[in-house]
Subunit: 253 residues, 2 copies
């Protein structure tokens, strides 16, 4: 159908170093560390209400991560892959005694002053959040396993963003400091996960066409993260129009 | 799981008039005739570039309508329903001789000054458009058939919007006047379609719980339309930040 695909098949594969550099170039261009919503957050310019909207909407994303990872796990016939990937579900769902990432995110929601019940009911989240998150679950379910794994590679860039964010949240929003356990956990989890996923993608992307699909998968994932922040910015910063039925921050914030 | 569901089952059904009035109340509150993007369009305040972005993104929505309708048709075991619903696919895909709605929308894209090829390739459309449209296809595939049909009831409100839009487009953007055949067709198609769908929903929503689901389906569809305009407004009006990779209007507009 698409003539560019057959042309790509003809191209020689990238070297391992070129292939990996391609992921980093995509991250530099498209990862949400550059999104204006994050820039304002890190400059201390968000109101409590804007941080509440962020925590509430991002909770929906967090709550779908183990579902996304189980979909990826379910599609692998390699027990070693499944064993490694299972860690991600544990990291987010916990073990019944130690809290996982979802419980920690609920504590962040509470630290903003919203109830955990609101988050658990997905009350007032932006429809655009729901659509973008579903696009992620659909992507890992319907594309090739290689693309599904490659879409997780935003974690290559998350540690740097989290280190900065923790520093700036503590500085500018000290009332939020008790709710940052999620990020502490991710500082070690994310690099472990991305190391494994990158090795896996490098090992399985043999042709140039496969390499291009892996790069496109990371672009698609960056779009999914970016779209969530666009929707937050539009609804809660500028012009500041939450759609009908969405969370309305308290007037005082 | 949700206590409100069992409570709803206990409530007596709404009368036919109350049930229908509920759809109109939802439309008044949530249909995209009130969206600021449309208000600016009708006031003649959009640039050519903003109308190009609208036509291009909305083309993606239009292109998925027959897929959505085929999914609804495919789920019905009633030949009379399928016969009536098949008309919608014909209206959009045409009959091979007379152009359907999709071809007419391509002519609108061309009237804005963009190439049909750009639209056919879905080049530069906003990721948020893609996610919202997919949410619509998913909705009619995965929810009950009653909800799928009810989600089409935004057509109850479309004639009034189209009449206004054609008038204002001709007034404010006369260079677009040659591309309005899509709307002319919808003036008669949409009321026929919504009459049939409404009768079908009234006939099949017996309990209050079913009636509530039908109302919720219309709300969900309104959200899907609204989110597409939110994304256009954010990217191309205020603050005017298209995400990485999206269509960039020419500077002169």
């Amino acid at each position: 159908m698409n003539p560019s695909v057959s042309q790509d098949v003809e191209k020689p594969p990238l070297s391992k170093a070129e292939f990996i550099a391609g992921f980093h170039a995509i991250g530099e261009e498209r990862y949400h560390h550059k999104h204006p919503f994050h820039l304002l957050m890190h400059e201390g310019k968000l109101t409590r209400g804007q941080l509440q909207a962020w925590a509430l909407n991002r909770y929906y994303y967090q709550s779908r991560i183990p579902i996304k990872d189980a979909a990826i796990l379910a599609r692998s016939e390699d027990p070693a892959f499944r064993l490694a990937w299972r860690k991600r579900i544990l990291d987010h769902d916990g073990d019944g005694t130690n809290p996982g990432g979802i419980e920690k995110w609920l504590r962040l929601v509470e630290a903003t002053g919203l109830s955990r019940d609101l988050a658990l009911r997905n009350a007032g989240i932006l429809p655009a959040t729901r659509y973008a998150v579903q696009a992620y679950v659909d992507f890992v379910t319907m594309r090739s396993h290689l693309e599904a794994v490659a879409s997780s590679l935003t974690e290559l860039f998350s540690k740097k963003l989290i280190v900065l964010r923790m520093d700036r949240l503590r500085e500018h929003y000290p009332w939020l400091s008790g709710g940052l356990d999620y990020f502490t956990g991710r500082l070690t989890q994310a690099p472990e996960d991305s190391d494994f996923a990158l090795a896996c993608v490098v090992a399985h992307a043999h042709t140039r066409a496969e390499q291009d699909l892996a790069h496109a998968a990371l672009r698609a994932k960056c779009d999914i993260l970016w779209a969530q922040l666009d929707a937050l910015y539009f609804a809660y910063i500028n012009p500041g129009w939450p759609p009908p039925g969405a969370f309305q921050p308290p007037k005082e914030s």
